[in-house]
Structure formats: structure tokens, C-alpha cells
Amino acid sequence: MQLFDPKAPGTLIPVLNLDESEVQRQMTVCNACRYCEGFCAVFPAMTRRLEFSQADIHYLANLCHNCGACLHACQYAAPHEFAINVPKAMAKVRLDTYAEYAWPQAMGTLYRRNGLTLALASGAGLALFLCLTLMMMGNLFTAMPGGNLYGIFPHNTLALMFGAVFGFAVLALAIGVRRFWRNVSPVEASREQTTSAALEASANVATLKYLDGGHGEGCNNADDRFTLWRRRFHHFTFYGFMLCFAATGVATLYHFLLGWSAPYPVLSVPVMLGIVGGFGLLVGPAGLLWLNLRRNAEHGDEQQKPMDRGFIALLFLVSASGLALLAFRESMALGLLLAIHLGLVMAFFLTMPYSKFAHGIFRSAALLKYSIEKRQPNPINAASD
């Protein structure tokens, strides 16, 4: 192994931690084998390198979708002494990168016990809004004519509270991903290349290209069989979330631009978007949880299950409480349901930069880098000459 020479020009090479060293070890084996090149973006990206620096390792770890294909196809997986398990090694580093790039950095420690973080945030959110409801109304069982929830909390109060928290979450994520992007040192590319790379990366994100197994039959879940259900349930979740987000956005526009105040009828745009999105956000997380419970124990990092499941559960509860609120908005339960829903949404927003939510941001950045990089000439032309 070539040792670091302090006299050599250039910047200091960061020392790798245990998880990163393991990825480096495994990538060295994989780079000498390359059988998995057709599965996903990780392996073609790997073949552009002979050595794996910390930046490369962070990039590859976030490029990995933990689909499991390479593990089941691996001639070097345990019980082989090389004990190659790329999804697991990548998952461990991935969590390290979420924590390391979190902003403010001290908050990154919330990833260490993320299930607990989500539970505490949810508890705090619930407590806050239950107390607020009690303070405002004197009880938790208040009906409002026409389901007018702004009779309990004024619109502008909610908009300010949630707007501020959401704004902070977006800022924290943006700073985090910017630091990640700078550290993984994106290659220089022309504007034209960047545009086409951005289009390709967006399509890869929107379609979850790399959960298709490379052959279109899907990824692995319980064993070496392929399934498209993980991709489908993720689509339900992602697009359900986006529709709910769109519902809120449209409602906000209605309120501030058009002066139309909630509650809106069921057949209005925001409510329809919310219903369809909410349905997706029930089916998706429920399906993902079902798959997660049946997931092969060798996939990914067992210790991250609380983070994954906690996030899935929170999404499910946000959606379920939102739909319940809609269904019972004209009953006595309005006050209680509103407090529960707002508490959970608040917990979701608060933890956005410190939960599984970050995976989408970091992975999208890694996919963009991959799309840019593959448009450059390959610096390594091993054996192709």
C-alpha cells in the first residue's frame, strides 16, 4: 500500500474512518472484478477510479440505492473470506455522511439514535399542539362550523410557525448538501453538459432508475428474487408527498393571492390534491414498511432500521391524521385531530434535515455528479487499450 508522503505536494489526505476504510477495501475488490457493472451507477463510477479517497467514498456511498443486487450476485460475499457486502458498507458510510454534513453540525449527532429523535420530536410536536389547543379552546373536543380549523388557530399563526420551521429545514438541508457537493469535488463540465446531466439526473431521481436492477425486473428484497414493489411503494410515497406539498402550496396561493380562505370544499383543487397525495402517503409507507420487515438481514445496516422505520411511520401518521382531519372536520373531533396532525407535521418539518429525509437530497446530488462525470472522458482506460 502506498503510504502518505508528507513531503508530497498537494493537500492533506483525510484519514479514513473504519466505515470508509471498509468501503475502500471492498471497492478495491470490486474494481478488480466488475461483474456488477450493469446493475447501477456505483460500479461504472468506481471504474473511473484506481484509488478511493474519502470524497470518492462519500460520493459512491450516496450513489448506492441499497438495492441488494450486487450482494446476491457476489462471488465474494460471505462465507467467502473477502466478505464483500457493498450495500452494507455503503449504508454505514451514508449515515456517517448525513451526520457529518448536517448543519449545524452538532445536530448531526441526532442520526446516532434517529428512531429516538423522531419519537421525541413527534411527542414534543403533539404535546405542543395539544397544549396550545387547550390554551386556545379550553378543551380538545371542539367542533367548528364548516370544519373551519382557523377558528382554532388563526391562519397567519400557522403559516408563520410552519413557514419558519420549514424555511429553516430547507436552509439546513441546502447548506448540508452544498458542503457535500463541494467535498465530493464535482468535475468541471461545460454548461451544455451540465444541462443534459441535470436532465438525466432528474429523470433518474423521478423514475428511481436504479431500483430497476439494471434489467427492469426490480431490486432484491427478501432474497435473490427481484421485485418492483420497493420502487412502486417509493413512488407512492414520493409522489404522495409531493401532491400533499402541492395541496399546501395551492392553498397558500388561494389564501394570499386570491383571498380564498379555507376550509375548501372536497372537490376543490387543494383538497383533491391532498386526498390523492394522502392516499399515496398511506399506501407507500405502509408498503415500504411491509417490505422493510421482510428485508434480507444482510441488506444495508441493521442499526439504521429504527431511522428507516421511524421515518416511514412518521410519514404514514402525518398522512393518516391529515385524512382523518378531513373526514371528521365537521365533528367534535376537529380540535383533537387538528392538534395531532399539526404536531406530527411539525415533528416532520423539524427533523427534515436530521432524518431519513436527507437521503433524497444527498442521493440526488450524487446522481447529478454521476451524470456530469460520465460525460467526461474516463481518466482510467484500464485494459480497454
Binding site: 472484478c33 450493469g38 446493475f39 446476491h72 462471488q75
Partner: protein, 483 residues
Amino acid sequence: MIDVLVIGGGNAALCAALMAREAGASVMLLEGAPKAWRGGNSQHTRNLRCMHDAPQDVLVEAYPEEEYWQDLLKVTGGMTNEKLARLVIRASSNCRDWMRAHGVHFQPSLSGALHVARTNAFFMGGGKALVNAYYRSAERLGVNIRYNAQVTDIELNGGTFVAAHLSARDAEGQRLPAERIQARTCVLAAGGFESNREWLREAWGQNERGEWPSDNFLIRGTRFNTGVLLRRMQQLGADFIGDPTQAHMVAIDARAPLYDGGICTRIDCVSLGVVVNRDGERFYDEGEDFWPKRYAIWGRLVAGQPGQQAYSIIDQQAIGRFMPPVFPGTKANSLEDLARQLKLPVAPFVSTIQAYNAACRVGTFDHTALDDCRTEGLTPAKTHWARPLVKPPFCAYPLKPGVTFTYLGLATDATAAVRFNGQASPNLFVAGEMMAGNVLGKGYTAGIGMAIGTAFGRIAGVQAAAAAGFITRSSQEPQHAAV
């Protein structure tokens, strides 16, 4: 009673089991390894050499029958059976739809293997993905699959198969009792004997230096190919073909594991530098031909050197031009330091390199062509890609012979029948490494092992089903069985 018993669990065995099951026979497959190690050497493979007359999905241009045959003739030096070889070649042209139907996916040639983009169809994910797909398909079709089921004896009545015997054995912490499994017909596809150290020793013997060369061999293939069934068939008087020292044998990294090193242990920089033995001397033309056409001879070359050791030496000019090795190279800024680190005699090593450097006549270096960079007045010469090793750090990789699979096997015919004294058995068939030597007497060309295993596995499956009473159209025309 079971109709067809398939002994083995790699590509050939699975092809046989699937074809027999598709013909309607009830099938049991006995894999000697535990489930985690299933698939024999097939788990280490990556492609299939395919005849094609026009571009096909992942295959570019054309690779006609005659060219395929000439390639095979060349690498085997004529140690092949033209009839059986052409059967394999033709079968390779049209077996892939069937493979796909059983879940195998193909992909274009891998980076670093573009030289075979025309001739070889790569399995997406490699051979283990293929093996997994076949096992899933076999399970779905109702093939009875058993692991930890190594067959130790075959019961014959004359040349007719009666039953397979499994000895009592310990497997995955369990004591399994001895068994006798009867079947109407049987396919033998249990691999070669590359992981049987005693047999290798017996075959390779002792050399003039008093060494037992095979003691220093590493096995790139599966640890489960101990040749138990092969030896038993020898004792039972089956007709054999081949030389027990002939094998797929390449020079691999000396630090590779003793078994199952697979693809990643290869060292691909031989043609970019020089190779010396443990005395610090060169012993063969490193630039004789393109590396993909030469890698398969270097295992035997290293086996002939003292201690069965050698070192591939390169300098900075070679970095990035060959597939990255799995283990790091030994690096040094001077030849003397490199020799010391490698524990080679310093003076002879340095003088070997200096003599080589002085003999280099550098023209226009081009690794994609048989270029004009060569040595003059040096023995052995380096006839292409000869550039002086002058740019430190120098880098060295230790080499040992690595055996992938052995070629000694059962003589067979176009029906894949096992033969006794020239007579075909009515119900005992053979496929894969156990008969590859019929087609591949020596040498190797990428993807031919899987081509033989697939062709003869499928023929054996059809013939075994037919012998059990399940006649299909293809079983009546054995020479076209896989066409």
C-alpha cells in the same frame, strides 16, 4: 422413482435439470456444496462465447462458426473433437433465448473486457446471478433441489446406472445419514478435480528440483470440486479423455486465497513490463501477443519456475493501463529497493532489468496493436510493448499458478452418454467440466467453458429425460439437440 437424477449444482447440472424437467420428467438435483456455496465454478464465470452471424442484442458484428472453430483449434493445438466442438459452437448461437426464459440477463461487454465485445455475451452480475436465476427457475418448475448432497459412489449394472450413493456426512453442523438414491436415468455434472490436492500432486509429480509443483498452486475455482465422482467413474471403468495436468491455469496474485479466488486475483500487467522468477531472471516473452490471448499460458509458465513463483514488474508508465489488481503492488523508488522488498537476489535482478532496458528498441508504443517496441539481442526476447523500466516508483506483483478447472474427464459423444469400453451407457450422461476435455484438450479461450457446459448440459438433460421415457423432438436428433 425419480426419472432423472442430476449430480452437481453448477451451470451444466442446472441446464440438464431444467431441460429434463421441461421434457416432463421428475428431476432431483444433488448439489454437493451448502446453499451459500452453490453453483460450482459457474459462480466465478462471467460470459458465454457465442457464435453469431450478425449483431445480436449485446454482441457486436459477427462471429461465424468457422472463425470460432479456428480459434478453438488454435488454443487447443488440435486437442479437440471437431464434431463435438462444432456442436457446442452451433448451440452457442441459439441457446440465449432459452437462458433468458430462465431468468438470465445479458449485458454488453464490461469495461476492461472490450476485446471480447464481439465474441462473448456477458451475464449481468456474472455467473452467480446466472446460477441464482437457474435455481429460482428450477424451484418454480418443481425440480427437487438438495444441498450438502455430495455423491460418493455410483451403482451400475453393467453400463447401466442404478443408483447414486451419498456417504454419511457432517454438513452445516448436522450429521446426515448415508443414502442410496435410485433413478431411471442420471446426469453427471459434478465438476473437475482442481481442489483435490492429492490428485493434483499425483498428476504433476515431482520436478527435477525435487519440488512438488502443485503444492504451490492456488485454486481460482470452487473448493468443492474435489473430483470424488470423477475418480469413482475412473475406478468403475468409464472411458476417459485428457491429460490430468491440463487445466484452465493462469498466473494470479500469489496472495490470493487458496480457493475461490475467482476473477479478481488475476494480474493483467504482464505485457506492460517484465516477469522475473525468484532468481531475478526473465523466462518468457511477455509481449508475445495481446494479453487476452496469452494470459492462459502464464499459469503453466510460472508452474515451471523454481518455487512456482514469479514477479510481474512495471514502472509508472503502465499505471492506469491495466485492470486494477485486488492486492496493492510492492512499490519502490529504486530497483535495488524493490528487489530487497521482494526478497529477490539484488544484483541478478538489477542486471536483468538493466539488460532488458538496454535491449529495448522503442518505436511507437501502442498497446492496442502488436507494436514495434521490442528488444534486440536479448534472450528471451520481448517482442512487443518493450519499453525500458525507468520511471519510478517501480511496482511489483507476486505471481503463482492459479487453477480454475481441470480438463481430465469422461469421454463422450453427441448424445452426452458416458461410455464404457466404447459402448454408450443407455441411461448415464455427462456434462460440464466432467467432459469439457472432449472439446478442450488444452489451452483456453474466454467463455468456452460456459459454452460447453450449456450445450452439453442441455443435451444431457434432454437425453436423460428421453431415456426415462420423455421423448421430445430434440431428443430424437441428438446432433441437433441444442439447435
